[in-house]
Amino acid sequence: MPVLKNKNFLRGVKLEIGVSQGNIEKKNKTLTIFLFTSPYGFENSSTAARLAEAALDKGYSVNMFASSDGVYNFMAGQKAVAIPNIQQEFEKLINKGLKVYLCGPCLNFRGIQRQNLIENSKPSSLTELFAIMGQSNVFLCFSF
């Protein structure tokens, strides 16, 4: 069995299997966060962002569904300084793989148009919300 005598080969196989199994396990886990409050008036946005980042760093798929005043978190042009700028926080997380969904009727009610939104955040619907819920291992609500 010449192959088994080759320690480097075996090490490579073990590593590959270990990584593969780890990825499968992590990819199967999905966290969805439902964000209901506006930024700066509540600490929910920062907490939700920190949780999302921790989950993304562990390899989880993370969805953020913003509803009601929560859609304000994803408006472009925020000028917050000296406190966490939530636009920058979410843009960083989107680059890490965060998927963002915004309640479409909530955007319409508030007169928020697509060009007012940060990149890769998109209007969504209850249909999509319930579909995402069905695929999620964990669903967290941030309200007040």
Binding site: F34, F36, S67, T127, F130, M133, G134, F139, C141, S143
Partner: protein, 121 residues
């Protein structure tokens, strides 16, 4: 069938939560989820009968809830009112819309443990 429990903790009209909760309860029913709503704390006021909020320009949310129970015959949501919350506010089941049911803490705990997804408003 996926199950969802929507907990309502805020009274209608002062803040948007109860209205949003009703919208999500309706949506869940339309999307054929096994839907349970639990009215807890000030949320019990959502099911208070004889609301007359029309002058505010906002629809009567209790009427919306009642209408939902009437029209969703195939997959009606279960509407539960937390007994202790109701008692603390001097309310009784006779003050509430028909079709809602009273539950205890233990029943609430079982509902939560049996449900896949919980939304809190």
């Amino acid at each position: 069938m996926e199950s969802i429990c929507i907990i309502v903790r805020k009274a209608p009209y002062g803040v948007i939560q109860a209205g949003e909760a009703l919208r999500h309860i309706s949506g869940a029913v339309v999307h054929k989820l096994k839907t349970t709503a639990v009215l807890l704390d000030d949320g019990v006021y959502l099911a208070k009968a004889n609301q007359a909020g029309e002058n505010t320009g906002w629809p009567s949310l209790a009427d919306g809830l009642k209408e939902l129970l009437e029209v969703s015959k195939g997959n009606p949501p279960k509407i539960f009112i937390h007994a202790e919350s109701m008692k603390n506010r001097g309310l009784h089941m006779t003050d509430m819309i028909k079709g809602a049911e009273e539950i205890t803490d233990d029943q609430l705990a079982k509902i939560l443990s049996d449900t896949k997804t919980v939304m809190i408003f």
